[in-house]
Structure formats: structure tokens, C-alpha cells
Symmetry: C2
Subunit: 183 residues, 2 copies
Amino acid sequence: MAKVKNIDFFTSNRSKVAEARLFLRPLGYSVTWRRANLLEPQLNTLEEVVKVKLASAPLDAGLTMVEDSGFFVHSLNGFPGVYSSYVFKVLGVEGVLRLLEGLPRDAHFEAVIGIRRGRDANLFKGVVHGKVSTQQKGRQGFGFDPIFVPEGLSLTMAELSRQEKVRISHRSRALASLAEWLR
Amino acid sequence: MAKVKNIDFFTSNRSKVAEARLFLRPLGYSVTWRRANLLEPQLNTLEEVVKVKLASAPLDAGLTMVEDSGFFVHSLNGFPGVYSSYVFKVLGVEGVLRLLEGLPRDAHFEAVIGIRRGRDANLFKGVVHGKVSTQQKGRQGFGFDPIFVPEGLSLTMAELSRQEKVRISHRSRALASLAEWLR
């Protein structure tokens, strides 16, 4: 029987850990939730944020993982982008809908996962393109899910079942790339 | 003649250095502009941001200074707050005006200066209260100045002369507290 390998996942978000386990357990990896609050720098891209977070994680013997994701509205110059969780907390989806009145509604969700072993770091990115809806709909998921309609669908991310969301989400795509690399 | 003491000011903003010199030269302090780009963490208050920036500045023999400031709109839960320069860059003053339609318009500007000598750190805060105007006016200053009317005035911050602004601004008030302490 193959030895189970461990990944230390630094995040404050329990459901991200559950999602990671879904993808990585079948490959023989256990995922340990490390609640340590790593500082998130104010930088322009998720890649930059993830690199700095990864560098600031305590250096353990094994695999260290961090993740960051964001919602990028094209006609708002990528706002709220790397600040999505802050903007969701203070303005909500209504704030973004208000800013977008009369503007083109293209947007994407993006997730970047960083993995480090010793001094070697690798990044894995997942993106889902779509449009911002004119009203919020649905109760699944979190954050900007209720106002985002993925390309090729007519429902918002928050109207999809958990399984459907896992199939198409930005985070799933990043996890799938990571799984491919680990394999 | 008293010996001139030096303060290393870490900032990417040249005009902040000029403003600091205005307040500190008369007290016998020279201010050296250190352009090093310190990482700004994503935190909730300017005090927290300044503490982390201060801790990350290279530890020199003398006095080390950092500053951070923000525009806090009360009915938007403090947005854009510690993310003011990013939000100004991507949404402009128009974004904030749009978000505020039909809402109360109280706001404040806030600046926090951090000074470190060795392991001792001190923070100095300056605040100016006022209202968000309904349209932008004036060409002085920068950032959200054209939509902010300080309490007791009928002009926006961007309609004030440089001298008038220096007299009432949040940064001036923080610098004045620092000057008081140095004295």
C-alpha cells in the first residue's frame, strides 16, 4: 500500500480545505488544515499575493499550500480583484451591481494555488469566464456567486448544485492542475 | 549650533516627503527619502498596516518613518479605507459617487505615521471629518480630494490652496503630533 503523503494547507477558510481534500485524497494525499493567519499583501495580481503568502508560511519539512481567489469585472478595471473578500464584506454584491449600471458585464473568477516544498514553489491557476447578472439569484456558494453567470450557462454560480459548481469552478480548475502535477 | 538629526522616510510618494520636510525641518530634522517599496498588508485599519510596514523596514541606526492614509465613507462601512489608492486607481471618484447615490455622505480622511528607533515604535494619527460632495470640484491635491468637503468649509479639498490644505489636512495633523513628540 502506498504511503499517504501530507499537504499543509494554510487558510482561514474551512470549506476550501474540504474542496482540496475532494481532489487530492484520491491521489493518496492527506490535507492538514493550518489555520495560521498569513498576511495578505496589497499587490496587483493573485500570483503575486500567493507568492508572498507562500514565502511567509512557516517552513516545514513537507508540502505547504496556500490559495487566493478573486472576482474580476473587466469594465471596472478588474475591481474587486485581489480585494474581493474585503469588498464583498463592505459593499456586498449590491455595490458591484450599482457600479456596473450601464457598463459591459464581462467578468471572471480566478483562483491561484501555491505549493512549496523547501525552496521550490509552483503556482496553479484556474479561471472561469462569464457575465455579471443584473440581479442576484441563488443561495448556494458564497461571495459574488449570486451575480455571476458562467459562460455557456443561464444560471448564476449560486443557483448551481454543489456538484455542478465543483465541476466548473475556478478553484476546481486550479486544484485539477495541481492534481495533474502531483500525479 | 544643534546637530541636524535624520529621519529615513520609506514611501513611494515624493510629495509626502516634501510635506514631512515642511513640518520637521524647523525642528532640526532632515528627512531622507527612501524609495524602498515596503509591502502593504491587507488589514482592517491604518494602524495595523503602518505597524507591519514599520516592522518590515530595514533596521537602520536612526529614525525610520512610514505613513499610510485613507478615505473612509461611513455609509459604505468605511470603504475605500485602507484600499483607497487601489480604489482610486480602478474606480476613480466617479465610482464612489455612484455607490453613494441616495446614501448619507459623512466621511473622513485619516493618516497614520509610524516612527521607529530600534525596537521602539510610535504611531501618530490625524483625522479630518467632512462630507462627500455630489460632484467633483477643484484641481488641487490628489485622490479623493475633489469630492471631499471638510467640516466647516464649503469648498472641496481640491479647491483649497496648497497652504489652506496643509493647515487642515489629516496628514498635517499627524505630522503636527509627530513634531510635538519630537520636540
